[in-house]
Symmetry: C2
Subunit: 310 residues, 2 copies
């Protein structure tokens, strides 16, 4: 005996409202409609659901019990509707975000923390990766949003790129580092220090190598490699090593007075940090929320950086 859940909903509304007419109004239907639905339900059930000839309509035992189930169905339906609405407005859902490890840990994670406070029902699934793999993940639709350093000209039509910060890498060291005290630092000065190297396939590593190549320095001493940002920072602050980091990461850490940047820019000046999404697909509302939020936060961050270090 399979019952139509809509019938149970109608029954629940009638019992709750206390009458056919009121129940119909509650459901936004006409009175004859619900009347006949009840008749159909009673036919299927084979037993009366309302006491006959009682004007303040009173349900039978069974009618009351079924109405309770109807209430459960109604509430599940309402909950489902709410989920849909939230999804469509981008107030709920899940967004898969990925980016280069150092930048994600150093900058994006702070932004995401703020985002979570504002949109608690959007789940962020974060992962790490480098441009080529992340772009293919976007194409395969296993990723919604990548945050990468790119040359805008290199971005194919398949993707949409929105710049959030100029790509500006710097050489970072601890605050009390000997070089940090100098007024002017020449490239030659840095040759004597050992390096914390970013992963070999990372853009940062390429930038570092290119820069050192530029001054004819083929070999450089590597004292530490393979760590995440927090490990790198710990090693950096506990030694005189140098490393290359996005300036924005160093900027964010200046508050803790542990890191500083040498006044030497390295890397490709045409490459900028930005959000990459798939162009074809209409991105989900929640992804757009994340995207907008990041763009907005980085506008203010960009201004901060510019005013602080012109």
């Amino acid at each position: 005996m399979k019952l139509d859940p809509r019938h149970l909903e109608i029954l629940a509304a009638i019992v709750e409202a206390g009458g056919l007419t009121e129940g119909a109004a509650l459901l936004g239907k006409s009175q004859p409609s619900v009347s006949r639905s009840v008749s159909l339900l009673e036919d299927r059930v084979g037993e009366p659901l309302f006491l006959p000839t009682r004007r303040p309509l009173q349900p039978t035992e069974l009618g009351l019990a079924l109405a309770q189930e109807g209430q459960r169905i109604l509430s599940a339906g309402r909950h489902a509707s709410r989920l849909v609405d939230e999804h469509r407005q981008g107030l709920a859902g899940a967004v898969r975000v990925a980016g280069t490890p150092i930048f994600m840990d150093g900058v994006i994670s702070n932004v995401i923390a703020e985002f979570q406070a504002e949109y608690p029902n959007i789940r962020i699934d974060q992962s790490y990766g480098y441009p080529t793999e992340l772009l293919s993940q976007l194409s395969a639709e296993t990723l919604d949003l990548a945050i990468l350093p790119m040359r805008p000209a290199d971005v194919s039509d398949e993707y949409e790129f929105r710049q959030i910060l100029p790509g500006r890498n710097v050489i970072a060291c601890r605050v009390g580092h000997p070089l940090a005290r100098k007024k002017e630092v020449k490239l030659e000065d840095i040759t004597e220090y050992s390096w914390i190297a970013p992963p070999a396939n990372s853009p940062l590593f390429r930038d570092l190598r290119n820069t050192l190549d530029g001054i004819g320095m083929r070999d450089f001493k590597i004292s530490f490699t393979g760590g995440s940002l927090s490990a790198v920072v710990n090693v950096l602050t506990g030694s005189d090593s140098l490393t290359v980091l996005p300036f924005s990461v160093v900027f964010m850490m200046q508050r803790q007075k542990t890191l500083t940047a040498l006044p030497i820019k390295i890397g490709d000046p045409d490459r900028h940090l930005g959000c990459v999404t798939l162009n074809a697909r209409s991105t989900s509302a929640s992804s757009n929320r994340v995207l907008d939020f990041i763009k907005q936060k980085f506008e203010t961050l960009d201004r901060l950086i510019c005013s602080a270090s012109g």
Copy 2:
């Protein structure tokens, strides 16, 4: 955005079964049917519920969330179906039973106790009353089953009467009562004792009065009145009073060795105890369960009484 609960059920089945085809089988529908239902739901929701072009069909975030609501709806529906089945088989529901107070307390309540053990989901709403009022309650359908002493010939066509015991009232006293020791008790012997009188409008009281009228005894000393069975028994066992009780009640209490019956029958030999129901209405399955149970129990009780006291 009101969603069709049936769509959510279908979604839940698909997600649970892991595919359209399996989901359709689970629901006992054809695959194209559920396929189109999903399409309709996706149209309404405005967002995809399944990841496209993935063969082991995988729901989206929203799809999964809605499927959970669908599961709630499914379980509510299954529960409702079970309620209906139980009702139809008379395994659940409520039955309104009434009868004369002394007989209900002394005999029927024991039977109801056994009934409850066998049918825990049937609720018994018991009340007390005398024939005229209970018959009119049956007519008004505010009562399902009355247990009353009646003359079968007096029962109108409106009702159906099923005899469960011969109506046999006796004079009851405590076990150690002076009269109880005598081999033969004449009516004259009882005149000196005081009486516990049943309520004035009860059949028992009428039987008592008629009997005493028959031996020319218009006045009799009443020492206690208005109590329920347990009060009457307490007074009876603590004094030499007499009272009139249905023999079945005394029989049930003989086990406790507190009451006994004088070998004098009083009352109307044409009146019998039986179950009265409304004839017109098809009685509910659960009422029939109660009725059948009572009839069956009283068949064995009747045999017991006959064999014990010929």
